[in-house]
């Protein structure tokens, strides 16, 4: 489904403002599954969205706290659907303002929703390059030789839980208390942000929402009499820029615009000069 609304909100004297808004909704659903070779996971079936985001979550207690053992966070043995990877919708808004011989184009677009795993976040944590890792525990470990990091969450003091392969609880007799086992901060961080080939951790799966000031162009068309003197039909000069500004909801260190995030190189911001001559 796609909606476009365009028009000229203001037109008077020497000023004109043209604008266009675009919203597109695009989702894929399974229409038919092969009876022999398709997956038989109960969460995949006719009519289900194909972009369900399957991941291995941290084991949690009934209040959503992460379960720890030996001071380190524990992973589930089954996969959970965390959300969807496709965005809820894309949006775009283009504008053109004209005043006498000047014109200004402004274009904004972005996506709202959808999950994306960030390899950059994981790599920064695992290698110790993440700015947030510059904290008291790291200082204590490196400078003072202490291993005193206590993970935020709970530990199981008695009982156990068993699940079917799809996450349904079969039996749960676990009793919890606050996690109090100190471990090395570096080790905790590296376990919490494990190699993505083995585990894509929940906290690094981010909402990919972003909005970009995609293009700003400011041009001036030379008046007729001047361009004719230069023996040309039309002369237009101006400044043009792309990717001037990006706002991201959860991505801090890389641009989700590319659709995947695997240690992406930064996207470029262009600033340029435009000369347009018609003979």
């Amino acid at each position: 489904m796609e909606f476009t609304l365009s028009g000229i909100p203001i037109e008077k004297d020497n000023f004109k403002w043209e604008s266009s808004v675009n919203l597109s909704f695009y989702h894929w659903y399974y229409a038919k599954l092969d009876p022999i070779h398709s997956s038989k996971d109960p969460r995949i079936g006719k009519g289900e969205r194909i972009d369900k985001f399957f991941m291995t979550d941290w084991e949690k207690d009934h209040d959503g706290n992460i379960v720890h053992q030996a001071g380190l966070p524990v992973k589930n043995k089954y996969q959970t659907v965390m959300g969807y990877s496709d965005p809820k919708y894309y949006l775009g808004w283009t504008n053109k303002f004209t005043y006498k011989n000047f014109d200004l184009s402004l274009s904004v677009d972005g996506r709202v929703g959808g999950l994306l795993y960030s390899w950059t976040e994981q790599a920064m944590w695992n290698s110790g390059a993440h700015p947030d890792s510059d904290n008291q525990w790291r200082y204590d470990e490196v400078v003072n030789g202490k291993t005193n990091y206590v993970g935020k969450g709970v530990k199981v003091v008695s009982g156990s839980a068993s699940y079917d392969p799809y996450g349904k609880v079969l039996e749960d007799t676990r009793e919890f208390s606050l996690n109090d086992v100190p471990v090395s901060y570096q080790n905790y961080t590296q376990v919490y942000n494990e190699n993505p080939w083995d585990h894509q951790a929940r906290q690094n799966i981010k909402d990919a929402t972003f909005i970009k000031l995609r293009e700003v162009a400011f041009n001036y068309t030379l008046p007729r009499k001047f361009s004719e003197k230069l023996k040309m039909k039309n002369v237009r000069v101006g400044l043009i820029s792309q990717n001037l500004f990006t706002w991201t909801k959860e991505f801090r260190f890389s641009d989700p615009d590319r659709g995947t995030e695997n240690l992406n190189t930064p996207t470029a911001r262009y600033l340029g000069f435009n000369v347009n001559l018609t003979f």
């Binding site: 070779h37 053992q69 030789g145 079917d164 392969p165």
Partner: protein, 507 residues
Amino acid sequence: MQAMKKIFYFILSAIIMTACGDFDKINQNPDTPQTVTPAFLATDLILESTSSSISKWFLSDSWIMKTTSFTEHMEWYLYNKFERSNFGAYSNLTNAQKMLELADSNEDMNESQKNSYKGLYHFMRAYFFYNTTMEMGDVPCSDAIKGESNGVFSPKYDPQEDVFVDILSELKDASSLFEHGSPFDGDPVFNGNPDKWMRTVNVFTLRVLNMLSKKVTVGGMNVQQIFEEMASKPLIESEADSYQRVYNANKSSQWYPFYYEQQNYWSYPVMTSFLVNMMKDLKDRRLFYYAEPATRLSDKPIDSYDAYSGVNPVLEYGQVQAEYQAGLHSSINKRYYRVPQGEPVKFIAYSEAQFILAEAALRGWKTPLTAKEHYENGVRATMMFTFENTPEEYRHGVTIDEAYINEYLNGEAAFNESNGLSQIMTQKLIGSFLQLKFNSYYDYRRTGYPVIPIDPQTNMNEVKTQLPIRWMYPDAEYSHNRENIEEAIQRQFGGSDTPNGVMWLLK
């Protein structure tokens, strides 16, 4: 003009057709084979069954057995966390099937050579089914490898007992086929020698039966009886005749797996106190061949036991790294990463057979020699193997010779029946350092020996007082073979697939 054009085109097409008549021949690459022979598939199977990982994973079973630790970052096996295995080994069985078909249908091959390929087929099935069932429990067996022939894409899981019945039956066939076989092509280990193969198959059968020794019968057959029969058959005669991969310094594709020019992990392994102290207590000179002196102990002579130290493997991981970085402990011997040919990596060994026979004798089963004699044979073989495969400059000035081994076997390592099982398992562990991968773990799982240190505070296994006893089934089975795997998990573990589920073998 038109006529000229017609004639011209006619002549042109005639020339083109004759000039390009040899497309088939031109498109053949003279350097590659045009057909597959059983020998090619035999090579592939034999290499797969004797391959080791060229990375830190080469050491992974020593992490479980707590004989080494690894200081790059935490590895799950170091703290007893098992995750999932997979059915990757089964792709070898497809090749085995093709090898059998090609050999069978080959009119130029004589019956006895066909027997060798058939024997290899059965052995490989037994070998890969064994590895897979030991890891996970019930696995597809009778329904396996039937995708092309019978359209079975969702094989049912056989109960583990039935899988072992099949394994023993395949091994029996393999042994008799090799007995009536002639040399075959494509074998990089024994050069196609069917007698060596038969002996290897027989020793592997002893291993399987030994692992089943808790059971009185398997599929109606008496375990002790089959074992005693097999023990009197021809077995591997020396350590050099073991089923092993020998590496070659002159070919980079045949370098020892941990050789430093092909991986970046060589600086991370560290010896543990579990193994180092065990060897110090026995005055076992192999310590000088397995380890390097600790940096901080460099004031001690390199041929003194006091220069070596191992890290406590159950410490909190940050401590392990810190102690190693402070130079307090020994790394593994440099020969494991500085010598391109390393040492041969064994998969089914003479020494292993001797220790199995020693254990059986202890149980009161009939064996060729006494428990003590088999035990001593095993120790001698592993000691000489280590000595012979260590270049002199890596021995730290310590020698291993017959005089020393006799001293050793009359000293702390002297065989004592009342402590026999523990001693056999200890010698088996020491002798299979970076050898016979996962065999020590399966022995430990079965016997509880040697007693691996466990600290409930740092143990990541859900059952904090023990090591895990199996790997979980692969994820893909839950989505593609749902009905059958759910049945298998229900039948074995009450519906919950975890690393602490008790398989039939261990009941």
